[in-house]
Symmetry: C2
Subunit: 228 residues, 2 copies
Amino acid sequence: MLELVDVHKSYVTGPVTTEVLRGVRLEAGRGEMLSIMGPSGSGKSTLMNIIGLLDRPTNGSVFLKGRELMKMSDDELSALRNVCIGFVFQSFFLLPRLTALENVSVPLVYRKWGGAAIRRRALEMLEKVGMGEHAHHKPNQLSGGQQQRVAIARALAGSPALLLADEPTGALDADTGRDIMALFLELNASEEATVIIITHDRDVARRCARRLRIQGGLLEEFTETDAR
Amino acid sequence: MLELVDVHKSYVTGPVTTEVLRGVRLEAGRGEMLSIMGPSGSGKSTLMNIIGLLDRPTNGSVFLKGRELMKMSDDELSALRNVCIGFVFQSFFLLPRLTALENVSVPLVYRKWGGAAIRRRALEMLEKVGMGEHAHHKPNQLSGGQQQRVAIARALAGSPALLLADEPTGALDADTGRDIMALFLELNASEEATVIIITHDRDVARRCARRLRIQGGLLEEFTETDAR
Ligand SMILES: Nc1ncnc2c1ncn2[C@@H]1O[C@H](COP(=O)(O)OP(=O)(O)OP(=O)(O)O)[C@@H](O)[C@H]1O
Ligand SMILES: Nc1ncnc2c1ncn2[C@@H]1O[C@H](COP(=O)(O)OP(=O)(O)OP(=O)(O)O)[C@@H](O)[C@H]1O
Ligand SMILES: [Mg+2]
Ligand SMILES: [Mg+2]
């Protein structure tokens, strides 16, 4: 499904080049569920943007469904992303002028679903995340955790083959966070989606079969006995 | 220091009125440290905006340093807020065009400090939150947790009498979160600041002498034996 081969990423800020990813290797197959932890500023969101075809690595190769990222045009990347990948961004990135329902509808519009099917599915997803009664609220009429749940509904709406969730429970109380993890597990089990969750929450990480950590610009698997 | 008497807050969305706060009562003296927990959407940020004089209640009274909020003009509110209160917002609200250093400088500019003193203090605060080497980065060049720490540095820069922190560790790994709590405890101890922390993190809540919970639009104290 997904493979990263010796991925490097550097940022240039004025005269300074900062190497954030230093030769990341990863393989993730269909139906796998992974968590990625690591200190603040260690490169998790950077990595997620590359996996999600939102950014290109400085060096290295990314393969999604056997196709290599570096050989695609921007249009091909965009098309693949829109069909295959669901994102829960760390900052949510809801469209401020759209209601919750309209925000959740966006990936379905990109997938060229019909209007009635869009509406039905978007409302179903909002109800799954406990947000059905806020469907007509705009983001500035929602709490932080409510916005996060709208973002989650949006990510799940198209039943993506690959779900990338960057700190999806950070703004949620423990009970609501558990409800969300149950939705991710359901997508993983019923659709064989590959699910990658970036998280600072050990409870969330434990519920993933594979646990990885990013440190010093590299990605490594770790087991519970390694945890500090 | 702070008193809320029978505070109500409702939002009107089209034809629907939602009553979020239903008669909140609170007293907090100098040097106290409180945490507030509650489910997503229960009214915590709403309450914080009222305590912080950023919004007015629908009914009820708020007193800060003996002065009643409802009797103040907007200019008086603004002046009191700028001098007394430090905010860590749930969404950070960094100014996107300013560097980290310039963002942290803003409350000091409002307090009419001189340029060299501003610079010194802003850099000191950034170093305290582990962000000294990112002083010249803009928010879009920083990770989520790095942005959060810049927001924290900004809140602490003017040694506020009242610190309001809305989910201040949500985007941070456990070690960094502990470092931040140590800074809050230091402000509380050395300056006798009143510190109110909204949090979903039980470890953070436990470190506060008083623990409150918002539920059903009301605020109640709870003890560890009440926790589920
Ligand atoms: N501007 C607004 N217009 C209408 N409703 C609003 C507005 N702001 C907040 N609300 C509603 O008020 C309720 C409380 O919101 P608030 O942001 O205080 O919750 P919260 O406890 O901080 O939640 P979270 O833990 O998710 O941040 C929510 O149901 C929300 O939808
Ligand atoms: N556009 C950019 N320009 C310059 N540096 C950047 C840029 N984006 C990120 N960085 C830097 O790259 C590093 C990694 O950022 P990234 O957002 O991937 O971290 P993260 O692991 O997601 O952290 P967090 O847990 O705080 O969200 C950070 O030190 C950050 O300052
Ligand atoms: Mg991040
Ligand atoms: Mg909130």
